[in-house]
Subunit: 356 residues, 4 copies
């Protein structure tokens, strides 16, 4: 079954991205949840909230935990979130007397949002690396071909000749700005979400702050004073950024498809797709796909903004909507970066360099 | 890997729908493509476009065809569409001298769009059946509980008491209208897409119309005078309908979640989700999920409208965008109908029936 | 002040449409509301709900009513809808003893939604007339130039030569289908909305049905069994249609801009825009604007689908959202039709007709 | 005429905002354009690009310029942008021999984008001031009522009691983060756009950098190395921010509407709207409007992301799309801030403070 283009056995070859998709795999998701629960037990033991032996028992049991996946699936269908059944299985694994110390003082959203934060940090590392690489390839392209004279087009009409360098810079420089924006973004994403049932860490009494700090540190995340369960601006900022990156690449793809038109011929793309009916054609598949990915993310980003209307202390509706959108946007951007890299490496401006 | 919530091993239990997703499985996709190519060969043989023996050879070879899926995936990545590699494999399977008669006069879009049309007809049958069933369950609910007095709410404030029947009808009657709209829609979807390279069936000379009619008839689809390759209003009409159905169910879900609030208590939901931190809670998971699905489709429908800007005789960008959106919207609506059915069956208005 | 591009003193020259905008003017709005209240009084008098003299007094007073617009504005700001203050002013105009008979049994939404229905009927008449005219102009273009050979483009690459007639038909035929869809749509739009406070016409006792029928007939609208206050599928169907029309025109505009590229030169546009920096340029302004209008509506249609999640018996949030979106979408489509007409009349395919 | 809710004579009382709308008035627009042309002439004279007398003549003529608005409107309709006709009028005003020095080396997009940048700086000052004020009012509310016990709600169900302070902070803290984001944003917005015909300032020879620096300084904007004509990430970043602010306020509005429900009664809103049919009701009009504004912007932000696909050196389609969306989003956010302020000042938590 593959409703999604990213997971599709065939289309996934074009639109999918294994490295980025791994961040959203069920294996990565469960590993992040297990890591949260282990770190929580340790932090709580260190703060004297649960006995040290409980933390040890939990650490041991969770290190080798296997889960009843069918039950997790059923639990998710019933509870709207996997955590209640996940914790039930964990507690059974730990057994008496320490089972009750598992997940102590935490709530579903703590596990899910923190687990996601960890995985988004990995995602950003992947995307940041690709951005850097693409920027470098564009710099090389400029060095190699920036002096070639090309035609500038305004409002779909030939305007005046310009150096290819101008076009290349209009593709590269937004990426540099996105790279800068990523630094700010990382600080918004790489945070601990830990608030307990209604965000107040009530069950931890005066140990809430201490446990929070220890837990954040163990997970390599920033500690914030209050859990932001119902404040989704961090997630939306990420979605904005993902769509801005794919949008800038969509501009590059659209430019390339226009420049590579048969009648224009300002660039040649190394590898084009074939046609089942017209073997003479070389289709700018990668460039067109960049446009499609840009418009896909430009559409989906709207759902993330709607999810800001996250009513009360936790909205099942708004939270579920995020799950339906953010992973797809992430992979779409990763794919766009991957395709852009190949396009840039394989393209050539046609024409002659202007003598200085 | 499971970037999509619909295919996700855990979340798929809540958000997925196996029956509807089957229409978008790679198996169904390839089966529909094979069926197209077989019917095409037969139609062309009957019209004398290809030899009868060629059609026989093609039918025989395709009846038991196995595909090199890895090569299909690579072909999709390269060509932006699976068909060129698919046809290459088919031709190799058929071998000399009839391989060249495979896919004769057709283009990638003919295979993909017609194959999709067949599968969308199946999807509509599934969704139509569910709509009918849900309407019936709402009628039963009205019979059973329509007389109970409830409070009407306007602008989030208690207004005046009304019979529960009024609320139930405001959920059911839009569904009846959607059912009527489906009849019109089916005629827009259940059509043959067959135009060859640039839509003109050039290679078939004066046999184009004859082959089209036979092909449509063999596939149980309507024949249209001209292929609508670049005219996507049929697909968009489907997306509109899918989102209208999930939107109406989202309204029902939102109403249920509001009526089931602890402080309101006008209805009781049979099955609610549990919480990892607050065992006393009964969460209206299904109702919230209806809202999430409604907003998901309300967002994605926009991308389908953007894909109307389908430049030239075939737009790789706009066409790919459809593939990224339409299957997801379809399954979201199927899931919404499935969840709604369960919610209606399990809900109860709390209160007493007004004496007549 | 002119935040909107449609009302803007300068930009309105390009993007506005006076004829369509008139349907959304405050004059048309108030006239439709007055008409509703007059017809309601007459219908109620005929059914014996209010005295005949009351209906007469109301008719007389409303025929020449002038409103305190500043108070209406303040009332809208306070109540979220103009009707409470509007009715207050009407009652004062009618005076004792018949003032209380004004608006009897009705609610704000009855006045607003029915008034809008009347104005949307006018809008559809305008748009339908323009569609017909544009279809005719495209037919004339085909007659005149359909035989000219042009290049078909698939995936942004020259594919094979085709007759211009094929391109023209791919622009015209979707419009014919939209014209057919309009007939269905009119029946969904041209209906009376009349339900009273919570949709049940409680105050009218057993006279509800009779008053409804008379009122619908007086207003030239269809009567429906129950008011659809919280069921917004009719409005959404209209938005879908508006965006489908502008989307199909966006495809035509995109095609024209591509065909008119300097390097392609397959068509010439009669009138292009000038540039402040490059006097030699002829910009395809109308064609580009069709694309912009298509994407504008493709975006806004999403908000209308979100407004299906119209909670309870009346949602202030969802209803207000419609007001923010539907008038703009309507005018955008009207403008697109107007621009398309000019483009088609002024364009020419460059090339020679293929000898038969 | 008033297609837009923001400019509407009645609805504008609820949804409009005069202060913010002023930034998008035609007066402000023309004033910003005049200021650009005057500063340009001065900068160019200082760099020796045009004669000093030309700059003087231009300054004098423009200081008292009156424009033929009807001609500007016709020019916009023809050219897709007001600048060619605007410059024509300016040149006529300046007359011989210095008319040709007006707008020397500049292009339409320089004038429009820079003029907009100036006005957006003013907009941000307005919005920043309102954010600060709202944050302060929320702090006062917390001081006054933060100790009152309220019920936390997760997934639309009563969860556990919490102090009102927790709710108030979940409304205020995202605003503080938005305030911080605004600082970054200002640097992206407050920049000069100056590139000439195709972005390369060709006509200025080696004086391009010098003129740019002087021009930026005169206009109080940052100078950037290359004009970003076709790189729209700054504008999109603004749209993201506008929608994040209105989204966070939408969450507050949704919370208030839920807490003010008749059956919940956790808060009382000072001023509610009245109903034409049910005088007993107090409708949470402001709170609902915040939700509507949030969803409006959450929808429109998508169009801005689509406009990143800005083909070539200048895209008429993508640029026009921005004009249709950004002013509306700006005013929607301004209105949301205005309404939020009133809501916070007028609301009260019902209940008793928990003894310490």
């Amino acid at each position: 079954m593959s409703v999604s283009p990213f997971d599709h056995p065939l289309l996934g070859g074009l639109l999918g991205d294994e490295e980025a998709a791994h961040c959203f795999s069920v294996e990565a998701e469960i590993a992040a949840m297990v890591r949260f629960e282990m770190a929580l037990a340790q932090a709580e033991a260190e703060e004297g909230v649960i006995p040290a032996e409980a933390a040890e028992a939990i650490t041991t049991a969770l290190s080798t935990a296997n889960f009843d996946m069918a039950a997790l699936r059923r639990g998710t269908a019933r509870d709207g979130v996997v955590v209640p059944e996940f914790v039930r299985q964990l507690r059974a694994l730990v057994g008496e007397p320490h089972g009750a110390s598992v997940h102590f003082g935490a709530t579903s959203q703590d596990v899910i949002d923190t687990g996601l934060a960890r995985r988004l940090v990995e995602l950003l590392a992947i995307l940041g690396g690709r951005l850097d690489h693409l920027v470098e390839r564009l710099s090389l392209l400029e060095e190699r071909q920036g002096g070639i004279q090309t035609m500038a087009h305004t409002r779909m009409q030939a305007a005046l000749p310009v150096a290819a360098a101008r076009k290349i810079r209009s593709w590269r420089e937004p990426l540099l700005r996105h790279r800068d924006r990523m630094t700010v973004l990382e600080n918004e994403i790489a945070i601990l979400h830990f608030g307990g049932a209604v965000g107040a860490l009530d069950e931890l009494g005066d140990k809430g702050v201490g446990v929070s700090r220890r837990l954040a540190s163990k997970l390599g995340l920033g500690a914030v004073i209050r859990a932001r369960h119902s404040e989704r601006d961090g997630q939306v900022a990420l979605a904005n950024w993902l769509s801005m990156v794919s949008g800038s690449l969509g501009k590059m793809g659209q430019d390339m498809a226009l420049l590579a038109q048969t009648e224009v011929g300002e660039i040649k793309l190394a590898s084009g797709g074939g046609s089942s009916a017209m073997p003479h054609k070389v289709n700018p598949v990668g460039a067109e796909t960049l446009v499609a990915l840009a418009r896909f993310n430009a559409t989906l980003v709207s759902a993330m903004h709607h999810s800001l209307v996250h009513e009360g202390e936790r909205s099942g509706a708004a939270w579920t909507l995020e799950w339906m959108v953010l992973p797809q946007m992430s992979v779409a951007t990763a794919t766009a970066l991957r395709l852009a890299d190949g396009l840039v490496d394989g393209m050539e401006f046609v024409g002659t360099a202007k003598p200085h």
